[in-house]
Amino acid sequence: MTSPLPAPPAAAERLLRLTIRDAEWRDAVTGDLREEFVHLVRRLGPGAARQWYWRQAIGLGIRFTAARVVPRSAPRRWQVRDADMEPRRAWLPARDVLYAWRAIAHRPGLSATIVGTLALALAANATVFNLVDALYLRPLRFPGVERVVIVSSAPNNAPGAQHNSVAPADFRDWQHESTTLSDLAAATFWDPNMSGVDEPEQLPGFLVSPGFFRVLAAEPLLGRTFLDAEAIPGQDRRVVLSHGLWTRRFGSDPAVVGRTIRFDGEPYEVIGVMPSGIAIPFGAEAWAPLAYPEERWTDRSRGGLMVIGRLADGQTIGTAHAELAAIVERQQREYPETNARRSLTVVSLTRGLADGFAAPILAIWQAAAILLLVIACANIANLLLARGAERQQEFAVRMALGAGRLGLIRQLLFEGAVLAGMAMLVTVPLAAAGMEATRRGMPTTIYRWVPGLDFIRLDYTVLGITLALGALATLVFSCLPAFQATRANAAHALRDGGRTMAGASRTWIGKTLVVGQVALAVCLVAGAGLVIGGVDRAVNGVMGFERRNVMTAELRLDGRAYAEPEQRRQFVSQVFERLRGMPAVDTLAAASSLPYTPAGSDRIYPEGVALSDAEVRSARVQRVTPAYFDALRIPLLEGRVFTDADHPDAPLVAVVGRGFAERYWPGRSAIGRRIRTTADGPWLEVVGVVGDVVQDLLLDRGTPTMYRAAAQAPALPTAFIVRTAGDPRNVRGELRRAIAAVDPELPVLHLRTMEDVIAERAGGITHLARVLGAMSAIALLLALLGIYSLMAYLSSRRTQEFGVRMALGATRGSLRRLSLGHAAFVTGMGLAVGAVLAAALNRVMSSALFGLVSIDLPSIAMMTAGIGATALAAGWLPARRAASMDPTEVLRME
């Protein structure tokens, strides 16, 4: 031969070298393969020969590895065992695993279905559990976090739980008197505009009392924290940066300590950097000393402080609550004017900072994921039951040859465990992908309010829970078939050739499982449908304003430059000046906040309306320029909207929403009535009533809203609203430039269309709906698969019977009907049970999701009908196949 000999794939040879340990064997085997390879190259060409070589190498590699791991003895049948010669081997799990693997590999399609089903369900559970853990159970992870509590005393009739409601003098009392808390500290919102660096930016920041970091037991990464002497006006121009801010804006430069940065136009010296994980509270990126003037510390009338404390050794939340409650009670007696209606709450920092909305959402997700797992287990149990029936003869032979029942059960459990193990291997990458998708799906706007987003990732907790769930699932789905399969009477099975073993009890179990599956799937689909419908209404439904063709810019007029109302008024009109007259701009307006963005509520005192203490007397108060109603197309129902004549010196006026008017002056005209916003403040006269606007997701249309003229009360937070002639994005640049031209130091917080405002606000819940939708689709698929496999199994068991019937004159049509009747019965039962469950679930969800979803019987009925139809289709296929067989063929089959 003149040409060089073709060489087999080098990697495959390496694989063989690695797997065959014995040098002589290695030579013999690779040599043999090489010899045959050369022949194959001549016969089939090098490509096919290389493929062949790879197949052989993999096969041999597995064989030799297995032979090393599992010592084998000669097949039992032919070997005469000599107890003296060959000591009985110890029980080898490895051998059980090998047998299990053989049984699994024998039916690759079935095994792949089981592994895939289980992996999907486990991945869904792992992902959701990770979310629950990251967002709810352990959103804050720094040493000693469980010793930190939030203490608050809020007025009884304040809407919602408010942690930043403690009055400074009350805080001082607690600080001096409490012994159950070793340390207390206060914090209040700061959110400064940072400038003097490349791009101005508004930071989430807090003013904190000097003990703040002591309470958290947080040591700075660089520099130091605040001294008591720095909590004095004039000495307080110091700032501590978060790890995130330090890396993001200062390139992790240690020299930042000692530098001066401008916040709200004032110079602050950087004195320290916190380690990562300390972004408390609410994603804080910068902290400065809380330096109230001394008289402010004696104030009990105004709240505004959030108070955290550290439990002293041996103390619990309970003992701290008891002690502080006594102090609060004394304060109520001593200062009835201000403190009479205040009541105390003490919660852990983790609970206190958690997003209130997260808990029900996460609970719904977790419930859905567990339902999915239950459906998957039922499905797998069903598949294994059918498979067990097929293997009846195998088991019977084994038992006849002396295998113990326990041994068989053990082997079936091992098969389950191996299947579950394989599923877990698939689960890990699936779950990682799910978590990645979840984190990406979270809207950035909620980042600050949801601590723990960073912990959405694959970690040991998740792996552990997956392992535990997998083990549990294995027990659930393999026990039933194992007992079923081994209960058979060996003699019967052998005689009947396994034909009539589709005994009543097994089909009964199978049917029950399918009924359960269909019922649970109906539940999930109905629940997901409700949420999806609710979200659709919230995002695309009637809102009371026109959101298309509107561009918005949000900013905050903070700091010394805007301390005076006049300065804020000036700023707004200068920006208007630059935008007015542009062809793309249709209407120009400004407001203190946009619909679908968070806004505080203010207390209100309508004239002549006696309100009980329990009644909420607050409303969303918006300060708007005259064109606001026109820009958002909010209809005027009565009276007039604001005009330029409503300037600061003119009589104070207000416009109210229809819901506001109907609540306080039902059946009467609101025009001419008066309201004030503090108990002794000036009266505002209502001059107009406008249509209600859905101010936020999940709030009804009746949210009482009151509008004030921006000229009479210029707001710190300000949003520009530009209605455009064409695509609103075209004026983005103009809007940004106009603001920068008036004040280049002022950061624009958001520049987005009104549609984006709504979409981002609804992001979290849209995400919820999408995930639920995906889970219910999977559940439905599994349930359909369950019906299909049950019907296929039943049909195959009855093939003989069908043959006899046909031979005796039954038509194919009647056989199809007979077969389909079973599917219809099982499906119908499932639907009935499911509908009842769905109705109950509906009620639970309506209360958990604050009116987002409402009981929607027609859509539940439609979904049920849809599922029923698909289920019948899944049952139809095997029925048709069974009925279309040739009777003579069937009868001859054995």
Partner: protein
Amino acid sequence: MAKTSYLGEFEYAVMLAVTHLGDEAYGVPIRELIEERTGRPVARGALYTALERLETKGCLRSRMGDPTPERGGRARRYFSVTPAGLRAVKATHAALASLSKGLEAILERP
């Protein structure tokens, strides 16, 4: 080995093939012979593990041949039947033959 072992079906086939091939009994021809005579495909992995097992049991012994270029410089591993191996083949053959006795009418019917 004091006691005579019986062979499994596949082991029996391998032993017979090795006996047939005499001095030329190594992996490739053993496999080809079994496939040719029985008409059943033989997995290489199964063959090698069976050979190894039979050697461990003392039914076969092996020697390494000379490396050849056709084999990429690797040696052949030649197998030959040991006296114990021969006894096992005979015992298995006898056991099967005795079991088959009286069934000729069925077994030899085409």
